[in-house]
Amino acid sequence: MTTTEITDDGIVSDPDTAALAIEDLELSYVVRGTPRAVLRGVTFEVRPGEAYGLVGESGCGKSTTAYAALRYLPSNGQIDGGRVTSSGQELTSMSAKELREFRARQASMVFQDPVQAVNPVLKIGRQVAEAFEVMGQSKSEAKKSALAALHRVRIASPESVMDRYPYQLSGGMLQRVVIAMALACDPKLLVLDEPTTGLDATVEAEVLDLVRDLRSELNSAILLIAHNLGVIRTMCDRVGVMYAGRVVEEGTVEEVFDNPSHPYTVGLLNSIPRQGLRKTDRELFAIPGNLPQIGEPLPTCVYVDRCPIANDTCRTEVPPIVDRSEGHWTRCHFPDRLDEIPEPEEVSEVVAVGSEEVVGVHGVSKTFRQRGHDIPALVSVDLGFAEGETLGLVGESGSGKSTLAKTMLGVYEADEGGEITLRGRPMAGKATKRVEESIRSLQMVFQNPDSALNRAWTVRRILTRSITRLTGMKGDEADKRAVEVAEAMRLSPRHLDMRPRQLSGGLKQRVAIARAFAGDPNVVVCDEPTSALDVSVQAAILNLLASLQRDDRTSYLFISHDISVVRYLADRIAVMYVGRIMELGSTEQIFEGPNHPYTEALLSAVPSVDGQAENRIPLTGEIPSPANPPSGCVFHTRCHRFIEGLCEVTEPEMHELSPGHTIKCHLTVEQLSQPVEITEKDRMADVAEPLE
């Protein structure tokens, strides 16, 4: 590998004062005795007090860079070249003791999953206090400091939290705890590695708010790793775009996101639905090809194999650093030719949604019984699916989305009284009792294709089995159909003889979709089908779903916590909370408002890559358990428009705001349109009642 990168003065201005300066860092993982390059000359700096973001798809080296910033390498990792410095101290040459001292007093790291990041067998108080004891405080001092630290991350009753074990707290609460521990030493450098990725949008927004507010109190510089461009945009001052172990573009978030100058950045930004883009407007941009493997030799431009404007120069010469504006540079030979990148395709034919109801959910409830208690997980849900329609389903984790999906599919049997109909005719509750026609017409695509596909089977066998089961076709006929279905999913014939582990995540999800479509279904339930995928792959899957719908007039129940994705694909949106539909309307109606207060809070929580001013409505506290739903309106315990004496007494009826737009709320359109005041108290998080 040639390394012609020369540390540019413009990139690392002053390694002696920077909170973190990474210069030309090369790092490899030794796999079966061979070192494979992961970082291929990473250079950037985080200035004191600054928030710097690193974005890129999985496998581009973001997390490796984050770990390298604290010199925490896996046992098979080795630094091949370059320097890492923090406030003038060189990490690469520190002794073990100096490094421990550095980690204890000057730098901290927050990991993706807060549930994993705390020790499950120790009380929270013990763990937070330990962070202070490391700095030499006595046990009693450390305990006092721990209380103060928890208070600082807006935990309303720190004493009670100190005394709990991790499994007794929610993910959002735990991430606050983790942040409190990370801030114990008032670090000069705080590294956040995907700190909100596993959290609900509402919790994510709270955690991000917290970090942003704490920044003003602390002198920490922040290195934020995230694949969510919206998170980076709302949190960071500057951003570096990483690809295949190299920073390919850097600048202020405004410059980079509004005026991208590297083909990869352009691809990333075009692959996510921005500014209210809908499936009827245009397709999303799916970056062709795959990320190079680690260790692959990339002698010139790292992006050349997937770049739509690459030419011979790109294949023979290392691209120089090209300045675009003050502090904004790109590592591309032709940043002025970016307008040659083909626009994603316009969608020419718009297929109208049919008027006939294909599948209907009428007054469906689902009550689980656990230890003699009734748990109403679904309460009287009404939904209808017209031909070719996408119904988006949103709500926090635990709101009952997946229960609804599984009840529709007959995994759970709905309670007596409600019914699920296919073209007006009721279906049996349990899938095992449904006639073939009903089973065929309702299919599902799961979030994780890895566990949804039989790993021992070839794609051909997976597909032909479904075809035989759902349509009765056998032998050559089934095989022919499998080839057809695969083709419709844009899988090539050679994929048919591969096994799932030989396929990338995106291809596996295509196989899972092909399986669902094998019997020509009427409604496909998609439960978070793209949330495990990178944005460029997500784009291809969303395009596929949209085009299948145009061709086959299939309806979707599309469950996702990514509001912009739902907005792109859905014709109508249903909002769920504690097993009830709180609001239902067309996508336009939902986004124009006025909304149910719960929807209002959900929508305000989404970090946008377009950088609109936000006025977030906090949704503190935890979603109530369906085993013990609040009286009256189930949302009243967290509602910012709560009316005393009414909401906690009477459960509102579902009523129409405008034709096709219904909500379950006591307030009038006028009341709902009034802006709300948010106080500091609303932002404090409290623990739920002690667990039984």
Partner: protein, 321 residues
């Protein structure tokens, strides 16, 4: 927690009751005449009748059961017939139990720390030659049957070095140190058999724990490797090890028959096998029940220890952490 212990003890009593039925039935369904087997081929009819009488074999099975149930509660199983004719059964069992306890205790004191240390080191040095040496040595040794290991130890240690004793049982009145000296070889044999097993369980738990984010958090906090292991890794990593040790403890008390024979050690296993051999049913019954009780208590202790280590396991034992 008391509720949990009580429930477990009740369950244990039910298990014991079932066991009681089985061991009551054994002499009734065993082939041949138990009395003749005990008294010998040349026994007079009077002697046979006397044996049958004292065994209660002429009584209906229900009466046999009640009698045996009674002897469990009064801790009186009568007298031995053939293993040590005329001696009270409980004296024999208690002596053997004491002997077994000494051997098991010494074996565990040697084996558990070494195996856990081995597992921790192997996990920390995963995929290096150190790891491979520990894992493969353990595997090689545990694939040797314990009595073969015992014979090897006799041949290679006891024969050339006088320090190691052929007989595990020290002469009466020996000091503790001499007793330990005598017990050393069978304890080493236990080490050879169990080291690999326990070390591998420990290694697996430790690898999972070392890979966890909370361990990273601890390292990032600036703790030393030793502190990370002591404060964060150990309690998570050793839970499977404790569970396994709990079940193995019961086994060690009754199952070291071959080793006890090789080293001529009068432990519980030895006693039970002799009782089987000579159809000494009272001794057999008392011995088997004793092993069962130890087994039950050992697994209960392991579960309580795990509950102490892991707050989530406390939910299972009905403690709200």
């Amino acid at each position: 927690m008391l509720k949990f212990i009580a429930r477990r003890l009740v369950l244990g009593l039910i298990t014991l009751a079932i066991l009681l039925v089985i061991i009551t039935l054994i002499p009734n369904i065993a082939p041949g005449d138990p009395a003749r087997k005990i008294a010998g081929g040349t026994a007079t009819p009077e002697r046979l009748a006397q044996v049958n009488e004292s065994l209660g074999l002429r009584d209906p099975v229900s009466t046999q059961l009640t009698n045996l149930g009674q002897s469990v509660f009064t801790l009186d199983f009568g007298e031995s017939f053939s293993v040590a004719a005329g001696q009270p059964v409980m004296d024999l069992v208690f002596t053997a139990l004491g002997n077994s306890a000494k051997l098991v205790a010494l074996s565990l004191i040697i084996m558990v720390p070494l195996a856990i240390l081995g597992g921790l080191v192997a996990a920390y040095k995963k995929d290096t030659w150190i790891d491979r040496t520990i894992v493969n040595t353990g595997l090689a040794f545990s694939s040797i049957p314990d009595f073969v290991a015992g014979v090897f130890l006799l041949a290679f240690l006891a024969v050339p070095f006088e320090f190691f004793k052929v007989q595990a049982n020290a002469p009466p009145g020996s000091s503790i140190l001499v007793q330990i000296q005598h017990l050393l070889l069978p304890a080493i044999a236990v080490l050879m058999v169990y080291f690999g097993y326990i070390a591998r369980i420990t290694r697996a738990g430790t690898i999972t724990s070392l890979d966890a984010d909370y361990t990273r958090t601890a390292f990032m906090r600036g703790l030393t490797t030793r502190e990370v292991f002591r404060k964060h890794v150990a309690r998570n990593a050793l839970q499977p090890t404790v569970a396994v040790l709990g079940t193995q403890l019961g086994y060690l008390f009754g199952g070291m028959v071959a080793l006890e024979i090789v080293f001529q050690y009068p432990g519980l296993g030895n006693l039970i096998i002799r009782a089987v051999d000579r159809a000494d049913y009272p001794v057999l019954r008392a011995g088997v029940l004793t092993v069962a009780i130890i087994y039950m208590l050992a697994t209960l202790a392991a579960d309580l220890l795990i509950a102490w280590m892991n707050p989530r396991a406390r939910l299972n034992i009905g403690e709200d952490a």
